[in-house]
Homo-oligomer: 351 residues x 2
């Protein structure tokens, strides 16, 4: 960066002012610029982004954050576009972000192409940002969380975070949102996969999309998922709240629900939004929403610390030099893994 | 430690020699002494234990390692006792270890009381060791892995690692054994819990115990679990081998099986052991057993490194001093979590 510190600080102030200012083209440009800064890997950019984030922080947290997941083909884009337009009609401003760890490989499999939501993407009350492509899931999720804060500071009061229904990205998205929605097809067997991957137990709401195609199958799927959620809930009550929601609720305030919907025909959206509002009111009144956010932000800090410690360890000159041979020794059974770990840890403290 | 280094080294050599020597009272005492040393938290003990482990390492790895899990009440002790005696009759020497992270709280809920396996515990060809009680799951699993190496060096050719069917301990046990066996009751619905917790997909073999009590229910449970395993296996083939077995098998060599058994009556043990032997032969011939062990030991090294980095970070004077206030700021939304993480990481590099 060639600017002097004063100029840089001025530039940051201008960005922050534009973001918390009136909606419009200037705000939009400032948001894009800031998010690009957040996603940069340059150290000086990162420092500027940190200062900006802290300046924006007092203006964040006033949105409702909804995570939406579902396997490819379930109709996520159609659903999010229909939902976004429905909410904008009712006076909301809607931001759509994404967590897709595969986007750095595939060049962006979700939201890379804004034409997937052609009406929402050109709406002035919507802000759509594709998944950052930072390589690791932790990195991608980190950038998306920070982008979420930027959209909140800009006054977007509904933030939707989309993720693909594969891998561990659902856990990350559930850990950064107030409510986690799982889209399912009216297809028995799908629920088993969701249970197996631990996604079902993250869900506050399960939506059976494309219910109009086969109403009988949708009804069967709804019954199956309802009974699965009840079993999972019973289990959680018996003392194993080992999911990303945090906290160990003594008396569960919200029972996960199952809804049928057809995003393509727009059928079921009012019922969906009523359920979301009911969830939000309940969790606000009983204090769980605030509690969940506090736990989320603290967990986020520790995730970043651990990632930082790992990176620093791997970058240490003596560790880098010794690691290949020690790894070989461990794999070949010449050195016990715990002994090797202690040796490497000792090396990493030498200057 | 008051001994001089030479005396200490001599003592270690004597222990190592007794362990790899002939079976008997002296070997047993040396094993117990060594495992106590491994479980000690004193730094000098730890250094001595490391030296001992490396001395024993060439004599390890020649056993077959079986992980056994199941919820309380499934009949694990009865099964392990029956299996152990069956194997000893056939000329094997059997070690039984345990991973129970709750044992530090409860004073040892599994294997704390050797009378649970009253015949096996007094048999000269068996070695039973209760779960270490080191507080964290990582710590408990670490000690058990090291104890496993000690029993192998002492010539025990079958090592059974038992765990309770709750929490994350199954993943740890699957990550330290060659084969993972899940005990289930003839009870529909149990399988859903196992699927949900991700335990079912770790299983190489599912055993329906107490099958004699309700043969119809056992048959139904077997059909259900078989179909669940098939679905989970199909999923794994579609590119998400995200379980602890490691590796991404292009063509699966072993299909998980379901057996019925009555440990109390001793019925089904020969069939069980035939399945285990078949698994072992297949996985040895196709190289997967060796591959799995290499990956396990490498993952173990990284787990210990990460645990060490976390401990060191938390113990750093400036981090300890700053952490409470920064945590408050993060929880209250005054500082962004990612910014707080970077601040603490910077503090932890200062001398």
């Amino acid at each position: 960066m060639t600017e002097s510190f004063d100029t840089l600080a001025d530039a940051q102030r201008a960005l922050a002012t534009a973001i918390v200012g009136a909606p419009g083209a200037a705000q939009r440009r400032a948001m894009a610029k800031t998010i690009t800064l957040l996603e940069s890997t340059r150290t000086d950019h990162r420092l500027a982004a940190d200062a900006l984030l802290n300046a924006l922080l007092p203006f964040t947290g006033r949105s409702f954050r909804i995570g939406i997941s579902g396997v490819p083909g379930v109709g996520k884009s159609t659903f999010i576009e229909a939902l976004g337009l429905y909410l904008i009609e009712r006076g909301h401003r809607v931001a759509v972000l994404a967590v897709d760890p595969s986007s750095s490989v595939s060049g962006g499999s979700i939201l890379g192409d804004k034409t997937r939501m052609e009406h929402l993407s050109v709406n002035e009350h919507a802000y759509i940002r594709p998944s950052p492509s930072s390589g690791t899931l932790g990195g991608v999720a980190d950038k998306t969380r920070e982008s979420m804060l930027v959209t909140e500071a800009a006054g977007y009061d509904i933030v939707i975070v989309e993720t693909v229904g594969v891998g561990q990205s659902e856990t990350s998205v559930a850990a950064m949102t107030d409510m986690f929605v799982l889209l399912q097809l009216p297809n028995a067997g799908d629920d088993l996969q969701a249970i197996k991957k631990g996604v079902m137990e993250l869900a506050d709401l399960v939506v059976i999309n494309k219910a109009d195609i086969d109403p009988d199958a949708a009804t069967r799927a709804r019954a199956q998922i309802t009974s699965a959620l009840r079993l999972l809930g019973m289990h959680a009550l018996h003392g194993h709240p080992d999911h990303a929601h945090g906290g160990a609720p003594a008396k569960p305030a919200w029972q996960p629900q199952v809804l049928q919907l057809s995003a393509l025909k727009g059928a079921g959206l009012p019922e969906f939004w009523a359920a979301v509002s009911q969830f939000r009111d309940l969790q606000t009144a009983n204090g769980r929403l605030a509690q969940r956010r506090q736990q989320q932000t603290q967990s986020w800090m520790w995730e970043r610390i651990e990632a930082g410690l790992r990176e620093r360890f791997r970058a240490h000159a003596q560790v880098r030099q010794a690691l290949p041979a020690i790894t070989d020794d461990v794999r070949a059974g010449r050195v016990a893994a715990s002994v090797a770990a202690r040796r490497l840890l000792d090396l990493s403290t030498s200057p």
